[in-house]
Amino acid sequence: MTSDVTQKPAQASVLKNLDAVRAMIKRHKFNDYIFSAIGLLTLMLVLLTLLILFSDLVMDGYERFNLSFLSEYPSRRAANAGLLSAWVGSALVMLVTFLVAVPMGVAAGLYLEEYAPKNWFSDLIEINVTNLAGVPSIVYGLLALGLFVYILDLGQSILTAGLTLGLLILPIVIVSTRESIRAIPIAIREAAYAVGATKWQVCYDHVIKYSYGGILTGVIIGMARALGETAPIITIGALTFIAFLPPSPVTEVAPFINFEWLSSGFTVLPIQMFNWLSRPDHAFHINAAATGALIIIVTLLMNGTAIYLRYKIRKNIKW
């Protein structure tokens, strides 16, 4: 380029302008660096919050980290109080939630993707699913209070809580089912039809089986959400002080299972945490912190598994 400068004065002025433009771009590039730094800092701040949140809980609650915390009932003395009824309650509620949300969500997703005619009817269902995902969780609690607790007279039971949370995570399961079904190429279905399979055989033997991983991801994320949900369960009026366990689902005499536990009173981990948190005595705050750490560890593990699973699936499956 330097050799060109000697040729014509017009070209020289162009080059001079070019230099000016280059200088300007260079100046503007400085903004790039500034914004890069700001952006990175902001992201770090957000992620740091997660870290601070977690370490704060662990530091506040570490003295309660022992097995007796999991094997004791709640108590009026903070140091003796434990989580036994809460974690058992959570486990049983989650079981009901799973049994409600998974079959219904997968069936609904399958219907919307494979069976539903593309008309106002499927649009209606679709709009409903989108809207339900945006309904505040406490409104599900009000629904459960009015419908399950009083109209259907199920009481403030494990069944009511499980049904409520099942409805709450239904949109999550439906959406993830639909997304993973949509990723299966049409050729798979055509191949099955070509050998004489019925629609259900295609769906059951191929579509569902190949979208299994994606559905599982959605289910895990939904269950993690259900585990941490507090507001709807408080709204149905769950008791916060429970010093007994629901009847065991498994019995020693035939028929070996009973369903009495479904109608039992209960408490769950986040409610126990809320209860301890709302007491003025600081000793109970330590229990709340330990409970919070437990909830956050379990939900992070579940969500982490789901995210990892999704990453694996995206990487491995190439149709």
Binding site: S36, D60, A107, L143, S278
Partner: protein, 316 residues
Amino acid sequence: MMSEATMALEQTAKQAISPRLAKNVSRNIKERIIEFILMLAALSAVATTLSIVAILLYESLSFFKTVSLVDFFTDTQWTPLFEDAHYGILPLVSGTLTTSAVALAVAIPIGTISAIYLSEFASHKTREIVKPLLELLVGVPTIVFGYFALLFLTPILQKIFPELPGFNMLSAGIVMGIMIVPYIASLAEDAMRAVPMSMREGSYAMGATRFQTATRVVTPAAISGIVAAYILGISRAVGETMVVAVAAGQQPIVSFNPMESAATITAYIVQVALGDLPHGSIGYQSIFAAGLVLMAITLCFNILGHMIRKKYREHY
């Protein structure tokens, strides 16, 4: 509706393929039954929406038999559980709006900057690491954020503002803001990533820098998606329960000062649900009326958000 001709055609086709298959009536009946069951499952979503609306309206109607609509929307006191009962929803609405405003003041700048950075500046590797982490942040239960607001942030804020009460809307709002950052960031980033590469390349070809391209080309092109992310974020903040129930206080007062303690709609519902109110009492009905207002507010924002996203999305 199947015409005679197609039915006949189907009949011959079945016989032509395999006589055994054509005779298999149970196969067809089974298919129909399965389709019907699947449809019922899909309809459960519609049923849920309908029952939410029905329950809220039904209980609210009995509430509004006692309380006039004018009182409900103009009275500035909300004391349904007191001897001298007042039923004005305004204090709860003002509390809800104030905490949401604080949350948005935190979430919109941080969310937008994160989205621009992730979409336009970050390397592929950074994005691959950060996006899952943001998703993890979305999964943290809200009660844990409530703990954070009450026992971590409030003491810190009290050192800066000594007159800050133990329960205040500022701390609850800030934590709620942090909570919805990942939500806004990921929606806004999706919108920006949908802007086609050729537009960025055009901008670079004119000598624009990354920052200029991001702020003057990509952001305007994705603005509808970004605004929709904000609106869906607002709806999140309005419906958020546990953080405000734990950290913002229970006192229903009309105040837009975040340094005060005030109840929100959701906090009031929790407060009543924790007590032991008899079914059918006015206090019991009042939480459904409050829930109806909450549902109406969030529904408006949700519909608006989805409409903006769908309608004003630029098609490239």
